[in-house]
């Protein structure tokens, strides 16, 4: 166990509120009657369903996939019948509806038969492992849900360090801490598979120092051989130490250059939950059909960590944890700092649902009116990206998006530290998201209009060329005609010319003879 070697700018000391959900071991949620599987779960292309209403599916059966590389398939989390493929509300900041596969479970929770397992994964090639991981539908379980097989393909980059993110810096969330306490061996196995895939020299597991039990469990689990290349590193409890860029800085003192990726500095970073999913997929042959999540907040009586099937409606899980409907003020998916509000409790949990936070009135506080920015600079003090949030806000509000980019808007990780400390209660992150969306849309429009312009230009070009060709043809025709005419007169012309030539030659000859005589 070692301490962090780097530090990042700013950050916040937050009350962690984790103990309440860590009283008991992780429990499996009861099987719901209906599972709702969105076809758009994560960053990447939407999936095409491979089943139709009325079909029977087994647990773990592939039900939707896509040809796109940037995608991960989904599987039936339990056995049952497809009842519909229709629009349902999905967990998304916009609260929008998307196509979902709806499964009526039959209660048997039945696998199709023997699963393909690879207990001796050591003999598999990196490509084979990546294929297994993609087919298991694994995405980053820590937050954004980026398809894992892509991150596991460093291409020509040499990977020096593989980082396992066990920092879990958001308040309230404790599922990674519980997993590290309860399933350290699976985490290490997953880590070793990932290491084999990216061919990393060393592995670092970063954990915040407020999780001594998790640190102990993982340290005790390592054997002597593993200790050679796996190190557990405690990082100070300071939000957002679990941000990818911040954790890389803490553990390696490297900074990921702006607009580049960790692989560019020889680092690959995965979440501890993802490592377990990888181990389950390769060693046990279980695709990603369930995940562990924290159900907590003032509005639930029995906060806990639950292993839930993907697609389970949120209400089902909240009820299991003793939701008090009257107390519920706001339901958040994710943590209080970066999570987003869920408007309907019928929304299903998905691969990236790491926490359901049912906040009561005391936790949300009274709604606050935003006042003008007084330029106090508190936001700049805490910004982990070392931006000037007040300037970003100023330009975003003025809709001067070029200026926001000059102030490095896209280096903002939306951690919310700035809004948290702002004495004027300005929803700063909201403005940054708005500006980012606007800029990306503008860019997309530009590309589109560029394309349209290209098409237009091409058409002009074609017309122009046609005109030229026509003219050319006309010209040639004219020439031909002229030539014919010329040919007729040519004989006469040449006679005259020949006569003239003769005269000239004669003159020249006489002059030359005169000159030679003179000399």
């Amino acid at each position: 166990m070692t301490n962090a070697v780097g530090r990042f700018h700013g950050g916040l000391h937050l009350e962690d509120h984790k103990a309440c959900s860590m009283q008991s071991a992780i429990v499996a949620a009861p099987l719901p009657e209906q599972l709702i599987i969105p076809l758009l779960q994560h960053i990447g292309a939407p999936l095409e369903p491979l089943v139709k209403p009325g079909d029977h599916v087994f647990k773990g059966q592939l039900i939707a996939d896509s040809d796109a590389n940037l995608s991960a398939p989904v599987h039936a989390p339990s056995s049952g019948t497809i009842s519909a493929i229709e629009e349902r509300s999905i967990p998304h900041p916009s609260g929008r509806a998307e196509k979902c596969i709806v499964i009526e479970t039959d209660g048997k929770d039945e696998w199709p038969g023997d699963r393909q397992t690879y207990k001796n994964y050591q003999s598999l090639s990196a490509d084979q492992l990546r294929t297994i991981i993609r087919q298991a539908g694994i995405v980053g379980l820590g937050g954004a849900g980026f398809p894992s097989h892509i991150k596991l393909n460093p291409g020509q980059h040499q990977i020096n360090t593989l980082i396992l993110n066990g920092a879990e810096c958001e308040p309230y969330i404790s599922c990674d801490a519980m997993l590290m306490q309860e399933r350290p061996r699976d985490i290490i196995n997953g880590l070793k598979i990932i290491r084999q895939t990216v061919n990393a020299r060393q592995c670092l597991i970063g954990i915040e120092d407020n999780k001594p039990a998790a640190i102990a469990a993982l340290s005790n689990c390592l054997n002597d051989d593993e200790k050679q290349y796996i190190k557990i590193i405690t990082v100070p409890t300071l939000y957002p130490s679990g941000g990818e860029k911040q954790l890389i800085k803490l553990l390696t003192n490297l900074e990921v250059p702006s607009r580049q990726h960790p692989v560019d500095v020889g680092v690959v970073c995965h979440n501890v939950g993802t490592a377990i999913a990888v181990a389950d997929a390769v060693i046990e042959g279980i695709p990603l059909i369930s995940r562990t999540m924290t159900i907590t907040g003032g509005a639930v009586n029995k906060p806990a960590n639950i292993q839930s099937l993907l697609g389970t409606p949120m209400r089902h899980l909240l009820t299991a944890c003793g939701l008090d409907d009257h107390k519920l003020q706001r339901l958040i998916m994710g943590g209080p700092m970066m999570g987003f509000e869920i408007s309907s409790m019928d929304t299903p949990v998905i691969k990236t649902t790491n926490c359901l936070l049912a906040m009561d009135k005391q936790e949300t506080g009274e709604p606050q009116t935003a006042l003008p920015c007084i330029r106090c600079g508190e936001c700049a003090v805490v910004c982990p990206a070392q931006l000037l949030p007040q300037q970003l806000y100023w330009w975003a509000k003025a809709r001067d998006f070029d200026k926001t980019q000059e102030y490095n808007l896209f280096d903002c990780i939306e951690c919310g530290c700035c809004s948290y400390v702002c004495p004027s209660h300005i929803p700063l992150v909201h403005y940054y998201r708005f500006a980012k969306t606007a800029i990306l849309e503008e860019e997309r429009d530009r590309i589109k209009s560029d394309r349209a312009r290209d098409r237009h230009d091409f058409r002009l070009l074609r017309l122009e060329r046609k005109k030229q060709e026509d003219e050319e043809r006309k010209r040639k025709k004219k020439e031909l005609l002229k030539k014919v005419n010329d040919d007729k007169s040519d004989s006469k012309k040449s006679e005259i010319e020949a006569a003239l030539e003769r005269v000239k030659a004669k003159k020249q000859a006489t002059r030359e003879t005169e000159q030679s005589r003179d000399s």
Partner: protein, 343 residues
């Protein structure tokens, strides 16, 4: 609207920031009243009432929510700071005109809270000093005999009716401030040491009363830094700038230039360092920028005190540096994560 992250907030607000600032001013205010009589309180009341009324009226005309803005406490702090710069024997219309001018021209014509480039309290003060130099330099003497000192009633009568109790005139009551006396006497060819020994109202550090007022504002300011209401950058840099340049001249010629200690504890130095130069709206916001901003104010204060036309210089130094803030901020942006130091 769907609530945007983050979903939890600490219990902070502009109001609480402003109230803490006012609390930090109290020791200095009490000391001020102790030495210079209740005139300050009268000026302060006039400034607060007129300032808040002006703010409310303008917000109403601009069709902005009046209540929210009044409760944020910023106008209150401006009025109090402004009153602290006035001599205690000022007639009522001095604080009145000053604060109304400051609120309208220095704050709201620029768009209100957060938008004004110039410190409103200092704009008010500077305008008064230029327009009414006589009234603005009529400071009470801190050591007048009890027989001629003015009580609350007398001060009120003076403020509103312009009459002094019979048998008392301005000459008996008022006295040049230490900074003023120092400047005038040095100009007459006296050495600093003689001035400090012979001139009335001078004391060990700077001047009677003034040294204590400065010490109290220093303590209040330190408490604000401790409470993380202000950052140390500006006050530390400003005081360092003042000490550096005054120390330099003092070393060269201790007879014709007052010591750094004198400058630190005379006039409005500490009030300026901790409460005026730190006004977030008009100061630089980057850490390096704040140090440059503070240093320059410190140096400018000395330059104006030593060679300028006015005895004290906080207001002009701050206003001049307010103008430079956009430039300073632009060139002192911190290095963003993932960017090269050079870019």
């Amino acid at each position: 609207m769907i609530a945007s992250s983050p979903h939890q907030h600490p219990d902070n607000s502009i109001t609480s920031v402003m109230l803490t600032v006012i609390v930090a001013l109290i020791p200095g205010i009490i000391t001020h009243v102790w030495f210079f009589g209740p005139g300050l309180l009268i000026n302060m009341c006039i400034a607060i009432v007129a300032g808040l009324a002006t703010e409310a009226a303008i917000l109403y005309l601009r069709k902005h929510p009046v209540k929210v803005a009044l409760y944020d406490g910023s106008a209150l702090v401006t009025a109090i700071l402004f009153a602290l710069t006035l001599p205690s024997l000022a007639p009522w219309w001095i604080p009145f005109i000053g604060i109304v001018f400051a609120m309208i021209f220095a704050k709201h014509l620029y768009g209100g809270l957060g938008q004004n480039p110039f410190n409103p309290a200092m704009v008010g003060y500077a305008m008064l000093l230029i327009s009414f130099p006589q009234e603005m330099t009529r400071w009470l003497s801190p050591e007048i005999p009890a027989a001629v000192s003015l009580g609350l009633i007398d001060t009120l009568r003076h403020s509103f009716m312009g009459v002094l109790p019979t048998g008392i005139n301005y000459d008996a009551l008022s006295m040049a401030t230490p900074l003023d006396a120092m400047k005038v006497q040095i100009g007459l060819g006296q050495t600093v040491a003689t001035i400090q020994q012979s001139q009335a109202g001078m004391s060990q550090l700077s001047g009677i009363g003034w040294e204590w007022i400065n010490i109290m504002f220093l303590l209040g300011g330190a408490w604000l830094i401790f409470r993380k209401i202000i950052s140390f950058h500006i006050p530390a840099a400003m005081l360092a700038g003042l000490v550096l340049i005054s120390g330099l001249f003092f070393l060269v010629s201790p007879d014709s230039y007052a010591s750094p200690l004198f400058h630190l504890f005379a006039g409005a130095t500490m009030l300026g360092a901790f409460f005026i130069a730190t006004d977030p709206v008009t100061a630089s916001t980057t850490p390096r920028g704040r140090i440059i901003y503070g240093l320059c104010i410190g140096i400018l204060i000395y330059v104006i005190r030593a060679w300028g036309g006015y005895p004290d210089a906080i207001a002009f130094a701050v206003l001049i540096m307010n103008m430079a803030v956009p430039l300073i901020d632009y060139y002192t942006q911190p290095r963003v994560y993932g960017h090269n130091r050079s870019s």
